[in-house]
C-alpha cells in the first residue's frame, strides 16, 4: 500500500497573552512533535481525551490553522506537496483533496442554505457552474449517503442529528477527496443513530476506497472503524498500532487505562478497572519527563526526568514509554 499522508514532527504552540499590551507570557504546547503516516484506503484513528491535541492535529493537517513546525506531506496525482508550509494562495486549489466531517451536525450546516446548496457548494466553488450538472451530482451524493431526493429543497432545520450528519458526509464526499478527516462524527448523536453513521462510513470506505483520519475520544467507537489507532496524551502520540494488536496487548500504560475505562454493556465487567489518579496534565505546563508519569502506576524515578521518544518496538508498533517492553499490560481479553 502506498502512503497518502505523512506527518513529521508536527507542532502547534498557542501563545498565552496577558495584560493590556497582550504580551506573550507563555505557550500552550497543544501539539508537541507528532509524527504518523496514513496509507491509501486505510482508516487511522487519533484517540485521546480532551486537551490532548487530537483536534489541533486534524486542523493543522487541513490547514484550518497554521502549524508552528513540522511537515504534512500529501501525495497528490503523482507528486507530493508539503501542506504545512504552502502559502494560503497556493493552498486553496488543493483544499478539494482534503475534506472534513464535523462533530456537531447542527453548527456545521449553514442554517440559511438549502440542503442542495450545502452539498453543492464545494462543487460550485471548484468550478462546476452548470446548474443541472450540479443538481445531478448532488442527487447522486444524497442517494449515496441514504438521503431522500426530496430533501434537496429543504433547510437543515427540518432534519434530525443523524440525517444532518449524512448531509455533512455528502458535502465532504462531493469533490472526491483523497483524504477525509472525520472529527468525532458520531459523538453528538444518539446511540441508536450512531451505529447507522458508523456503518455508513464503513460502507462508503469499501465502495469508494476512502482514506480516513478518524478523530475520537471513544475507544469503543474506534474499534468499529479503524485499521490502525494512534493514542494521544498531552500533545504527543504515546502509542500507535494496528487496531487488533493495540486492544489486545497495549504497550503504553495510558492505553491500558483508557481501554479499561471504556464502559462496556456487560454487567460485572468493571471489576478489573484501572482508576487513574489525578487529572489530565495541563498542556500549558506539562510535567517534565514523561507527561503521563504523575498518573502512571508503573512510573519509576527515570520517568520523571527522561522524556520517552517514540520507538518502533515491533514491526508496525510504535510506543513512547521507557518501560514499554517490560510491563506486560492487560488488553481487553483480560478485562472482562
Amino acid at each position: 500500500m502506498t502512503t497518502l499522508l505523512e506527518v513529521r514532527g508536527l507542532k502547534k504552540y498557542f501563545p498565552i497573552r496577558k495584560g493590556l499590551l497582550r504580551r506573550v507570557t507563555g505557550q500552550v504546547k497543544a501539539v508537541d512533535g507528532v509524527s504518523f503516516t496514513i496509507r491509501k484506503g486505510e482508516t487511522l484513528a487519533l484517540v485521546g481525551e480532551s486537551g490532548c491535541g487530537k483536534t489541533t492535529v486534524s486542523r493543522c493537517i487541513l490547514r484550518a490553522i497554521d502549524p508552528s513546525a513540522g511537515s504534512v506531506t500529501i501525495a497528490l496525482e503523482g507528486h507530493t506537496v508539503d501542506l504545512a508550509t504552502l502559502p494560503r494562495r497556493q493552498l486553496r486549489p488543493l483544499r478539494r483533496h482534503m475534506q472534513m466531517v464535523f462533530q456537531d451536525p447542527y453548527s456545521s450546516l449553514n442554517p440559511r442554505m438549502l440542503v442542495g446548496e450545502i452539498i453543492g457548494e464545494p462543487l460550485l466553488i471548484n468550478g462546476m457552474t452548470d446548474r443541472a450538472e450540479r443538481r445531478a451530482r448532488v442527487l447522486a451524493l444524497m442517494e449515496l449517503v441514504g438521503l431522500p431526493g426530496a430533501a434537496i429543497n429543504r433547510f437543515p432545520h427540518a432534519f434530525s442529528g443523524g440525517q444532518r450528519q449524512r448531509i455533512g458526509i455528502a458535502r465532504a464526499l462531493a469533490l472526491n477527496p483523497a483524504l477525509i478527516v472525520a472529527d468525532e462524527p458520531v459523538s453528538a448523536l444518539d446511540v441508536s443513530v450512531q451505529a447507522q453513521i458508523l456503518n455508513l462510513l464503513l460502507d462508503l470506505q469499501d465502495r469508494l476506497g476512502l482514506t480516513v483520519l478518524f478523530v475520537a475520544h471513544d475507544l469503543s467507537v474506534v474499534k468499529h472503524v479503524a485499521d490502525r489507532v494512534a493514542v494521544m496524551y498531552v500533545g504527543r502520540i504515546v502509542e500507535m498500532a494496528e487496531t487488533e494488536a493495540l486492544y489486545h496487548r497495549p504497550l503504553h500504560p495510558y492505553t491500558e487505562a483508557l481501554l479499561s475505562a471504556a464502559p462496556t454493556p456487560i454487567p460485572g465487567a468493571v471489576s478489573h478497572r484501572i482508576i487513574l489518579e489525578r487529572d489530565i496534565a495541563d498542556p500549558a505546563n506539562p510535567p517534565p519527563g514523561c507527561a503521563f508519569h504523575p498518573r502512571c502506576r508503573y512510573a519509576e524515578p527515570r520517568c520523571r526526568t527522561d522524556r520517552p521518544e517514540m520507538v518502533e518496538v515491533e514491526p508496525g508498533r510504535h510506543v513512547a514509554c521507557l518501560r514499554a517492553t517490560e510491563l506486560g499490560l492487560r488488553g481487553i481479553a483480560e478485562m472482562t
Binding site: 478539494r96 442554517p111 464545494p122 466553488i125 471548484n126 433547510f155 432545520h157 427540518a158 458535502r171
Partner: protein
Amino acid sequence: MFSFFRRQPKLSQAERYAQATQFQLTWWRFRRHRVAMVSGVIVALFYLVAVGADFLATTDPHATDARTSYIAPQPIRLFEDDGSFQPYVSGLKGVRDPKTFKLIYTVDPSRHVPIQFFGHGYSYSFLGLDTDVHLFSLKTPERGDGIFILGTDQLGRDVWSRLIVATRVSLTIGLVGVTISLFLGVLLGGVSAFYGGMVDTVIQRVIEVIRSMPTIPLWLGLAAALPNDWSVTQVYFSITVIISLLAWTDLARVVRGKFLALREEEFVMAAELAGASSGRIIFRHMLPSFLSHIIAAVSLALPAMIISETSLSFLGLGLRPPAISWGILLQDAQSIQSLALAPWLLAAAVPVILVILAFNFLGDGLRDAADPYG
C-alpha cells in the same frame, strides 16, 4: 377518504416548515411576540405620520399670531345641534382685556366653524409636488380661527400641527443618525474582527476612549462650536453627525463580536475547507447570519438617537428654533409658569415616550426572533 383529506394539510405543513427560509422562520417567531407586533405597528404609524406630516397638520406650524396665544385644546364636535353629521369647532371671538385693553381671542361656543375633509390650507411640497390639500381644514375660517386640537403655544401656533411636523424631524434624525453609525459600526467592527492584531487593538481602545467620555459636556462643547449663522438644515445635519459619531461604538462591538463568533462556526470552516474565497465566506455565509442581529441592534439604537436629539434640543444645544422637533417643543414647556398656564404644551412628551417604548419592545422582539436556531 376522510382521513386522506385530513392528513393532507398536515403533511404540507411539515413540508412548509422544512422549506421555510430564515426570514420566514424569523417572521413566524416574531408574529407570536404580541407586544413586539403591536409596537411594530405603532412605529410604522409614527413613520407614516412623519411622511404625511404636512397633510395631517391643520395650520402652518410656523405661523404666529400673538393674539391667539395659549388657547386651550378645542374638541372637535361631530354633530350639529340639529343632530346632523357635520364636524365643527367653536369659533373665536376677539375681546378687549379689561385691564390691558389688548385684543385677545377667547372661545365663542355659539359660533360653529364647520370642518371639511381634503380641503385647502397652507401650501407645502409633498414628494416634490406642490399642494395645499390637508386631511381636514376649516370650511369658512374667520381671522384667528383654527383647529386647535392640542391648543396653542405662547406665540399662538397650533401645537398639534407643530407636533406632527416635529415627529418628522425627530424620527428622521434618528434614521439618518443610525445610518451613519451603522456604516461606521459595520465598517470598523468588521475591520477590527477581520484583521485582528494591532488594528483590532487600536480600534477597540478608541471605542473605549469614546465610550468613557462624559457625553453631556462633549455635546455642549461640540454644539457650542457650531456657527450661529448656520441654516436650520446645516445645524440639523451637524447634530446627526455628532450624535452618530458617538453612537457607532455599540454597533461596532455587536458586529465585531458576532463576526468573531461566526468565524468559529463550523459551517464557515467547512466553506473555507471547500476552497471558498474570503468574499464568498463573508457575503454568502457570515453576513446573512448576522444581518438579523444588525437589524435588531439598529432598532434598539434608534430610540437612543431620538432621545439624544430630544435631550440636546431641550437643553438648547441641538436644533434651534425656528426648527421644530420634539426637544424644541418640550423646551417651550420648560418653565413652571408656562406649564401652569398651558399644561397642554407637555403633549410632546407623549409621542416621545410612546415611540421609545415601542422601539424598545420591537427591538427586543426582533432580537428574540432573529435567531430561530438559537
